[in-house]
């Protein structure tokens, strides 16, 4: 993974010192809140319902054991013993004291981490496929390009005060696990017929109150043009993006209002000015960054195959976990392991300090010291020898993180919701816990198959409800919570925005409604290989409306 150079260390250290001074002046009253608020936000410090919240960047979701141990240390020393991994591959702490935040940032800096640009109208943490560098279906590792973008965008003077926040995602595989089509810029790293590396470029995707699927404006952008082309997009957005209305300020609105052809033309025109300038990426620089992401020394471990068969036979629970949470690696003797942060009835994305410490130990012992955070709020160990799976599994069982549910109905994404978030209108977590408990039986989950439920506590859609196969959006109606259900959303290479199925449900009725939807699906699928999303796309909303609302056309409208 990328390691800080002297410049990086000095830059982050300076930033910590600067923020320490700002916090000191704020606490002494020298700085007023109006002056301080933008400064704390630039350093990831929000004010939520019950306390401050610190959002720490995990660049493209990649970290090592040492960094994970520091995240555990921060949870233990400065917070209440846990952290929350988010849909942007970051971690949030819900209870830090403002007075402690400079020390927290100093601790983070000691392991080459920070919280810069985790808030504000700037380019946020660049996200990537959580299986990057390990997936069998990958054309190239997207992380070197995510890192190049990270370096380029960090405190970029021209793009630090954009009309609105800006999110970039990169994938290197045909199977999109980074949800690139619901990002401001989505980059699909690929090879052309000549074997050259480049990107399909998508622009103007996003969720929130106006969900939109990104439009492809380039089929193949040569890798050397990555920064010049991205700069061209940013310049067009910075110049023409709306600043009169916060809710219409994202680039998706600009793309929509301008028209994709005209906008693409503006980008190309700007690009002509920038191509072959200092923004052109030298091959040597790409190589230098790529070397940081060299795969670990994956020696052949063929004994794993025979061992695995025996272990599965001896322990069906282990077999179920392998089946669900281990994906094929590009090296046949290895697997990519999803450590589910979705225990049945638990809080999606939460991990205690002791769990984080234990994951760090396991990663060091069995996974070449590499850890990822997925946008689905799970932890990934991307390189584990099949021969080590059983030992790893035992370790995960001992810390309560061996739930065999990756991709199943209980692998629910949920934002913090009204339990923590100052923007939320309704709670997300209790709902996810109830649904998880209702469907927790392993056999039932297996029967239902792949089904992604995503829950947001407000229209800002941090819980990605628009792209949930089943999406739940919490709203406040007459002082009480109400949940709108959408069906048919998807955040993969065939991205779709879910459709509202009808009138909303009170909290105590939501899980029953989910059950009705699931039972309807089970009754109409052609066979078990037809997953919920495929069945919904085949039959449309009507059978589900009928099941939920009977003949009441008004409610199902």
């Amino acid at each position: 993974m990328y390691r800080y150079d002297e410049f990086d260390h000095a830059f982050v250290a300076d930033r910590v010192a600067q923020f320490r001074d700002q916090v000191t002046r704020r606490l002494s009253g020298e700085l007023a809140e109006d002056a301080f608020k933008p400064l704390r936000l630039m350093n990831g410090v929000y004010l939520q319902l019950h306390a401050y919240m610190l959002r720490v960047a995990i660049p493209y979701g990649t970290l090592n054991s040492n960094q994970m141990r520091m995240l555990a240390h921060i949870a233990r020393k400065y917070d209440r013993g846990y952290g929350h991994f988010t849909t942007r591959q970051n971690i949030q702490y819900n209870w830090p004291k403002l007075s402690d935040t400079p020390d927290i940032l100093a601790d983070l800096a000691s392991v080459e981490m920070h919280a810069i640009q985790t808030s504000g109208n700037c380019i946020r943490n660049v996200t990537a496929d959580h299986f990057a560098g390990a997936a069998a279906d990958e054309a190239a590792d997207p992380r070197p390009y995510a890192e190049i973008l990270r370096q380029w965008s960090s405190v970029h003077p021209e793009f630090s005060f954009l009309p609105r926040k800006f999110k970039i995602a990169v994938t290197g595989a045909e199977r999109d696990r980074a949800a690139i089509q619901v990002h401001d810029i989505g980059l699909h790293l690929k090879k052309n017929d000549k074997g050259e590396i480049g990107f399909a470029v998508y622009v103007g995707g996003g969720q929130g109150r106006t969900p939109m699927i990104a439009k492809k404006i380039r089929d193949f952008l040569p890798e050397e043009d990555l920064l010049s082309y991205t700069t061209a997009i940013m310049r067009v957005y910075n110049l023409h993006g709306r600043r009169d209305n916060k809710y219409k300020a994202r680039i998706k609105i600009l793309v929509h209002e301008t028209g994709v052809e005209q906008l693409a033309g503006q980008v190309e025109q700007e690009f002509l000015q920038l191509k072959n300038t200092e923004l052109k990426l030298p091959e040597a620089d790409i190589q230098a960054i790529t070397e940081y992401f060299s795969p670990p020394p994956l020696t052949d471990r063929p004994e794993g195959w025979a061992n695995l068969a025996g272990w599965k036979k001896a322990d069906p629970e282990f077999g179920r976990w392998v089946q669900q949470n281990v994906q094929p690696h590009k090296h046949p003797d290895y697997g990519m392991v999803t450590v589910s942060l979705k225990p049945i009835g638990g809080i999606p994305g939460d991990a205690s300090d002791s769990q984080m410490d234990a994951i760090a130990d396991l990663a060091q012992e069995y996974a070449f010291d590499e850890i990822r955070i997925s946008h689905e709020q799970n932890i990934i160990l991307p390189h584990v020898a099949l021969a080590d799976l059983e030992a790893l599994y035992r370790g995960l069982v001992s810390i309560g993180l061996a739930t065999a549910n990756a991709g199943l109905i209980t692998d629910i994404i949920a934002c913090p919701g009204l339990d923590y978030c100052a923007l939320a209108n309704a709670r997300s977590i209790p709902l996810s816990q109830e649904i998880s408990s209702r469907f927790g039986d392993p056999d039932r989950q297996a029967e239902i198959g792949e089904l992604k439920i995503k829950i947001s506590g407000c229209i800002n859609a941090c819980g990605h409800h628009h792209v949930g196969h089943i999406g739940l959006l919490g709203v406040e109606k007459k002082g009480a919570e109400l949940y709108q259900i959408t069906l048919g959303g998807s955040g993969d290479e065939n991205t779709s925005i879910g459709e509202i199925i009808g009138r909303g449900f009170e909290p105590e009725k939501v899980t029953d409604a989910i059950e009705t939807i699931v039972n309807t699906y089970l009754s109409l699928r052609t066979d078990p290989s037809e997953i919920f999303l495929a069945a919904y796309r085949r039959v449309g909303p009507q059978p589900f409306k009928d099941a939920l609302y009977g003949g009441n056309a008004q409610e199902a409208a």
């Binding site: 704020r26 004010l47 209440r80 013993g81 004291k97």
Partner: protein, 104 residues
Amino acid sequence: MADKVLTANRLSDGISVWLDASGNWVESLQDAFVARHAEAVTALEATGKAAFADNKVVDVNVIDIEEVEGVLRPLRMRERVRAEGPTIDYAPGYKGLTGPVHAA
């Protein structure tokens, strides 16, 4: 007019607080001073502005409440959650740094 209390978050640690009858910021809504008429609300608002300007608290708001059998209850769900804390068992077993090793 609904009864009202003054709430904010403490500057130093962000913890939710309410203004009591002695002018102190306390961590329990139940200890808050309740304004039951317009003049009292005006006084609350003035106190809130002064406390904000004095850098003691941030995000100062007057909120609507009702009193049910002696218990103060905010009318809005958001404020009820603020007053009572997360509705979930968010840190099971956690007893702070000085407590026993907490459960995973």
